[in-house]
């Protein structure tokens, strides 16, 4: 037992030393956001770069805001998923104004809107249907005759915009808009589907909920910038002063990297410019980590192995 204990001590010390050495030796740092597809992508880039360019890469968990600061300071080299228009303010500051961060040319298409469970989709097919109290009463779960609809978490910017949309389209009159954490809303979707209950809710893609359940996106008029008049969110009355009567603009996300890499590591910049993922692949990543609970690094190893030729192609000039 004693021997085992001392062995354990030696291995622990050794592991710490190696870890410290590893940290010092990293040629590149990739930030990993806290959502599953971002973690998967961070690790895929790590394994891909290590394998094709022979560099040592660290993945460090951090929020997007800190990642941008790190990209400018040189403590972070890559941010795997920069969502637009969500992070447009950061892009304006660090990409357009300071030139400290470069956005890779390839992007993944994303969208947000409203979704319906199969039971709800039988009567509610479009945003217009939400304005009909006769149709939305099937969404009533608290017995007041008005349907309820989850519009997002209280902290999300999109949640306020969903309020604006409900007001502008008019269905805010006959529906109760609910804010709650995403976990609570997604579990509500799971329970609704399990018992074939109708539910309509804010949704965005890529997201693993579309792998879990058969959902229908409600139809609505295509985005028209002229019909989106959003007052600045800093104004306490911005929701009342705003109006939006079309679908959200299409969103997308892309890899961001420190502009210094172009000089310092042009091979890495080249790799990142070539790295491409489809929306379907991102959904699968989200599902593998978020639902199947695969370990990000292990998932990335398998992914790179299965897509070997493609990843090697990213490293070619």
């Amino acid at each position: 037992m004693k021997r085992r204990a001392s062995n354990f001590l030696v291995s622990t010390v050794l592991a710490s030393v190696l870890a410290a050495a590893g940290a010092q030796a990293a040629d590149l740092v990739i930030s990993a956001p806290n959502w599953p597809s971002g973690q998967a992508t961070a690790n895929i880039l790590k394994i891909g770069i290590e394998k094709t360019l022979g560099l040592a890469v660290d993945v460090k968990p951090m929020g997007t805001m800190n990642a941008f600061v790190g990209l400018e300071k040189g403590t972070v080299d890559v941010q795997p998923e920069i969502w637009r228009p969500n992070f447009d303010d950061l892009v304006r500051k660090y990409v357009d104004e300071k030139g400290a961060v470069t956005l890779a040319g390839k992007s993944v298409a994303a969208w947000q809107g409203l979704c319906a469970t199969p039971s709800a989709a039988r009567t509610i097919k479009s945003i217009g249907d939400l304005g009909d109290p006769e149709k939305t009463k099937v969404l009533d779960t608290d017995g007041d005759g008005k349907g309820e609809m989850w519009i997002g978490a209280a902290t999300w910017l999109s949640t306020g915009i969903e309020r604006v949309r409900a007001k502008s389209y008019g269905y805010g009159e006959n529906m109760t808009l609910v804010e709650a954490e995403e976990d609570v809303a997604m579990a509500a979707v799971d329970a609704a589907i399990a018992t074939d209950q109708p539910m309509v809710f804010y949704c965005y893609a890529p997201h693993h909920v579309f792998q879990l359940h058969e959902l229908t996106r409600l139809e609505e008029p295509a985005h028209d910038a002229a019909k989106w008049k959003l007052a600045p969110a800093s104004d306490p009355l911005w929701i009342e002063k705003s109006s939006a009567t079309t679908a959200w603009d299409a969103a997308h996300f892309q890899i961001g990297y420190s502009s210094a890499l172009t000089e310092k590591r042009p091979d890495v910049a080249n790799f990142l410019e070539h790295a491409d993922f489809t929306a379907e692949e991102v959904t699968q990543m989200s599902y593998a980590l978020g639902v199947e609970r695969q370990e990000p690094l292990e998932f990335a190893r398998k992914w790179v192995e299965q897509n070997e030729a493609r990843v090697e192609g990213w490293a070619k000039p």
């Binding site: 017995g143 989850w150 209280a154 709650a180 799971d190 399990a194 693993h208």
Partner: protein, 228 residues
């Protein structure tokens, strides 16, 4: 598919939760929704109220099929071991591996006591002591008798044989998942904000759930958003 449903036309408390969740405070609206169950003898949906529940339980010596413990398909991103409580439909799901869950019938809070949000099992107890809340002591002479706490293990202890105490972080909420001395109340809105299962089920759940388990109380219906 499930021989139970909610009658949507009847007014029901639960509104406060939605409104608080939306950041608006309103006085509670007092009313109860009506659960319905399918009577296979008559082939009709019938209101499942306290009287009907008691009659059926006396006749069948068991809960309606929908409220009996069963394994159901349940696809979710939540990890096995997570509890999801759907107060509107009176079901508690314990997530299992492989896209399944164990579903238990539950009784939930009557008006003024419902809630919703994310909590965790902070503590578990066998034969828990029942301490009636002060407002119950004030209105109920039976409760007043046990103001200092009714020992666990008594057949009239309303918590039944097991209790799981729901915490936010390290703080106890006043809510518990527990058993019952009135098994026919499963499927109804009757408890003081707590989640009650029949005693066999609460023992089964207790044995499967670890301290620390994530508990999600859904937004719908009887569940009010308390801000936890």
């Amino acid at each position: 598919m499930n021989a139970v449903r909610e009658k949507r036309s009847t007014s029901r408390l639960g509104r406060l939760g939605w409104l608080v969740a939306a950041g608006i405070a309103l006085a509670p609206l007092m009313a109860l929704a009506q659960t319905q169950i399918y009577d296979s003898k008559t082939g009709k949906w019938v209101n499942y109220d306290k009287k009907k529940a008691r009659q059926l339980y006396a006749r069948n010596k068991q809960l309606p099929e929908a409220f009996q413990r069963q394994i159901v398909p349940f696809r979710t991103a939540e990890a096995p071991g997570t509890i999801i409580i759907d107060g509107n439909q009176h079901f508690l799901y314990l997530v299992q591996p492989g896209g399944q869950a164990i579903r238990y019938g539950i009784g939930v809070g009557r008006e003024g006591f419902g809630w919703a949000g994310m909590v965790r099992v902070g503590r578990k107890a066998e034969n828990p002591t029942w301490t009636p809340p002060p407002e119950m002591v004030a209105r109920d002479p039976h409760a007043a008798k046990w103001a200092a706490g009714m020992p666990g293990g008594r057949p009239d202890n309303p918590l039944g044989p097991r209790a799981m105490y729901l915490f936010v972080g390290d703080s106890d909420t006043i809510y518990r998942i527990h058993g019952t001395i009135e098994p026919w109340t499963i499927g109804l809105d009757v408890s003081s904000g707590c989640i009650r299962l029949n005693n066999e089920d609460v023992i089964d759940l207790y044995d499967r759930v670890d301290v620390g388990a994530k508990v999600i109380v859904l937004m719908q219906g009887a569940a009010l958003y308390k801000g936890v």
